[in-house]
C-alpha cells in the first residue's frame, strides 16, 4: 500500500483484468474521491455528482479491457471521468431546456379509501409506462430478473447476453425508474 496512487491503481486494474475481484473492489473504492473531485471540477451540480460517479464506474467496468498496464492509469481514468461529466451536463442541459414546471394537481376525492384505489391504479399505469419507455435491453433484464424471478445467469442465457451486461442493465434500469419516481 506504500505505492503512489497511479502505480497502485495500475497494478490493481491489471489484477482486475485477470479476474481478481478483491483488487477490483479495492480499486473502485479507492478512486471514488478522485472521481468526485473531477466531477466537481467540471462544475457538475452537487446533487448530480453521485450519479456521474456511478456512471463513470459503469463506463470503467465496460471499457476496462482498453487499459494497458504499461501506461499510466490516472490519465486513462481522468479522461473517462471528465467525459462522463461533460456528457451528463449536456444531457441535463438538453432535458432542462424542454422541461417546464407544472402546477401541483391537488384534486382528490373526499373519501380517502377512494383515493387509495385511484392512486394504486395510477401507480400501476405509471410503472407499466415507465417500464415500456426503458431501452429494450434494460426492460428485458428487469422483466426477466425482477418480475419473472430468473437468476442473473438464467437471464443471461435466456437473453444471449453476459451476466455482467444483465447486472449493468438492471442497475441502470432501476436507477432510471428511481429517478422517474422521484420526479413524479
Amino acid at each position: 500500500m506504500g505505492l503512489e496512487p497511479d502505480k497502485r491503481w495500475s497494478s490493481e486494474m491489471a489484477a482486475a483484468q485477470s479476474g481478481d475481484a478483491a483488487a477490483y473492489e479495492r480499486l473502485l473504492r479507492d478512486i471514488l474521491p478522485f472521481l468526485r473531485l473531477i466531477a466537481r471540477r467540471e462544475r457538475v451540480p452537487s446533487d448530480m455528482v453521485e450519479d456521474i460517479v456511478q456512471d463513470t464506474l459503469l463506463t470503467i467496468h465496460r471499457i476496462r479491457h482498453t487499459y494497458d498496464p504499461r501506461r499510466p492509469f490516472v490519465p486513462w481514468l481522468a479522461v473517462i471521468a471528465k467525459r462522463r461529466s461533460i456528457d451528463a451536463q449536456r444531457r441535463f442541459g438538453r432535458i432542462s431546456a424542454w422541461e417546464q414546471a407544472a402546477p401541483d394537481q391537488l384534486e382528490t376525492f373526499p373519501d380517502p379509501a377512494a383515493n387509495i384505489q385511484i392512486e394504486l391504479e395510477d401507480k400501476r399505469e405509471w410503472l407499466h409506462r415507465a417500464l415500456k419507455d426503458l431501452p429494450r435491453k434494460q426492460r428485458e433484464a428487469v422483466e426477466l430478473v425482477k418480475i419473472r424471478g430468473f437468476s442473473v445467469s438464467e437471464a443471461a442465457t435466456a437473453s444471449g447476453r453476459s451476466a455482467g451486461a444483465i447486472k449493468v442493465n438492471i442497475h441502470r434500469a432501476l436507477q432510471a425508474l428511481r429517478k422517474l419516481f422521484e420526479e413524479r
Binding site: 479476474g19 475481484a21 479522461v79
Partner: protein
C-alpha cells in the same frame, strides 16, 4: 459513500471474470489495413484496366492525388484506432490533415488542368454519378467494417472517431476509384468526389452510437 454507489461497486466486483486486453492500436490498425490492402489488390488486379491507369499515371497531378488519397486513408484509419482509446491524445485527429491538403491540391490541380484544356462542357452529371456510387458502394461497407474493428474499444468520444474513421475509408475508396477511372478528374468529378466523401463521413458520424456500440 452513498448506498447505491456502494451496492454498484459490490455488484461490479462480484463475479468479475478475466478479460482479454485490447491489442495495441497500431497492431489493430495494421491488421485492418492489411486485410483491406489484400482485398483492394485482388479487386484491382482482377477488374481494373491497368493499361489505362498506367497511361494516366504519367501525369504528376494524378500521382499527387493518388499519394494524397492513399496517405489520408492510411493515416486516418491509424488515427481512428488511437482515438478510440480514452488515454490517447485527441491530437491524433490531426494526423491525416497534411495528406488531406495534398490530396485536395492534387485533385484541384488535375481538375483545373482538365477543365481548361481537354474537357469542355463537363458540368453534366454523366459518368461522375458512377464515381458517387463507387465511393458510396466501397466507402460505406468499408466504414461498417472499420466500425466493427473500432467498437471493441467502446470509444468514449465516438464523434471524432467516426469522423476520422469515415474520412479514412472515404479516402481509401477514392484511391481505389482511380484504378477504375478512365479519364482524369474534372471539376464536376471533384465536386462529386467531395460530396461522396462528405456523405460517407456524415453517415458514419450520424450512426456513430449504433456503429460504435
Amino acid at each position: 459513500m452513498s448506498n447505491t454507489t456502494d451496492q454498484l461497486i459490490e455488484m461490479l466486483a462480484r463475479d468479475i471474470a478475466p478479460i482479454r486486453r485490447l491489442r495495441p492500436p497500431i497492431i489493430r490498425a495494421a491488421m485492418w489495413l492489411g486485410t483491406v490492402a489484400f482485398l483492394g489488390a485482388f479487386v484491382i488486379f482482377t477488374f481494373a484496366n491497368l493499361g489505362v491507369f498506367i497511361a494516366r499515371a504519367r501525369h504528376i497531378e494524378l500521382d499527387v492525388e493518388l499519394l494524397g488519397s492513399f496517405t489520408t486513408g492510411f493515416l486516418a484509419v491509424i488515427a481512428a484506432f488511437y482515438l478510440s482509446l480514452p488515454d490517447r491524445s485527441p491530437r491524433w485527429a490531426l494526423l491525416p490533415l497534411p495528406s488531406l491538403a495534398l490530396w485536395l491540391s492534387g485533385s484541384g490541380a488535375s481538375c483545373y488542368h482538365q477543365w481548361l484544356i481537354n474537357r469542355n462542357g463537363t458540368w453534366k452529371l454523366g459518368e461522375s454519378s458512377h464515381c458517387l456510387l463507387f465511393i458510396l458502394g466501397i466507402g460505406l461497407p468499408l466504414g461498417a467494417a472499420l466500425m466493427l474493428g473500432l467498437r471493441k474499444a467502446h470509444p468514449i468520444a465516438p464523434l471524432r472517431v467516426a469522423v476520422i474513421g469515415g474520412l479514412g475509408v472515404a479516402a481509401l475508396a477514392t484511391f481505389l476509384l482511380q484504378f477504375f477511372h478512365p479519364f482524369d478528374v474534372t471539376m464536376m468529378d471533384l465536386t462529386i468526389h467531395t460530396i461522396a466523401v462528405a456523405i460517407v463521413v456524415s453517415i458514419i458520424a450520424w450512426r456513430r452510437s449504433w456503429a460504435l456500440g
